[in-house]
Amino acid sequence: MKKKEIIGGIIVLFLITSLSGFLLAQVYKVTSPKIEEQKKLEQERLNKEIFPEGVKFELSFYPSPLKGEGKGEGEKRSFFIVYDKNNNEIGKIFDTKSLGYGGDIFIRVGFDNNWKIKGIKILQHNETPGLGAQIVTKEWFLKQFENLVEKDIYLKKDNPEGKIDGITGATISSRAVTEGVRKLLEEVKNEK
């Protein structure tokens, strides 16, 4: 490469990258508040589906049972306290994850004040479409969890006292959700 070409290349690259960086910074300034807002709306929507009477969802923290989780200021996990329109506390919402067939399944569980399950939502999963993914598409599966107490939360085929029917062809995914929910209940019931 001749010296002139090298300098030409450096100048062109410098101009293009600085212009691009500037342009992108402007786009980011415009879109990032909207993106934040979308995230908040999504959280609200999910929480409202679990607690339709909920009016305020307050973000709170509890110490994490795992060592080394979280950054810096102590290991904390977040959860929501749910208030109705009279500002009475009507329940709590927690997130957890459970290892399914295609990776972690992220689950959001709402509990009423007696630690009975109010509702469940799958936040994210990587289960096989048409098979494991039925934990989302077949609404009756998640509905089964409502109003259960700890000893009920087992797959019928795993435990005679269990009240959960797994989905045919999606046992691993069904079991992952069931175990995840029960373990979450065991963990948070003792905290508060």
């Binding site: 490469m1 070409e5 062109v12 992108l24 879109t31 909207k34 993106i35 995230k39 479409p129 048409g130």
Partner: protein, 203 residues
Amino acid sequence: MKNKKLIDFKVFFNGIWKENPILFLMLGLCPLLAISSSTSDSIGMGIAFTFILICSNVIISSIRKFVPNQVRIPVFIVIIAVFVTITDYTIGAYLPQLQKNLGVFLPLIVVNCIVLGRAEAFASKNNIFNSLLDGIGMGLGFTFIIVLMAIIREGIGNGTIAGKIIFGKNYKPFLIMILPPGAFLVLGFLIAFKNSLDRRKKC
């Protein structure tokens, strides 16, 4: 590929069928196979892709005389990345569900072989207007195939098109179409179909 004409509309039709980026050039198969299980996602992907391709082709064509040969690839990629990022942020702000569904395949357009390939093979060697036509043609060609594949895969494999049930509630879906093998099967048949049409034209 250099065009002698100032404005050559044949360039546009080239991208749609004759040198269709998927069926003929066989580039950019990765996002195609991944996204074509859902019709609505495919439409979104096609539009985003076409927008990025058009913008990058036009910009690269307009600066082609100023970019030294040795640095052309980094320059192309930076320019493509700018438009991909703009698209990514915009979709994230106004269509968050689409962004969630496209997942990693939206940022992956930065190194998509169709976009990079057209930049190198066409936009850097032709004038702005023809590069614009090439971008539109290739983009529409890609969108056409990905949406067609999605209609087939989602229709047969899930009984729906864009979420609307088409075969009635008792349809037992042919599951393999929604899974990766189905993607390869449908693509293979489409390529074979195009090849047979091309062969007949020759005779």
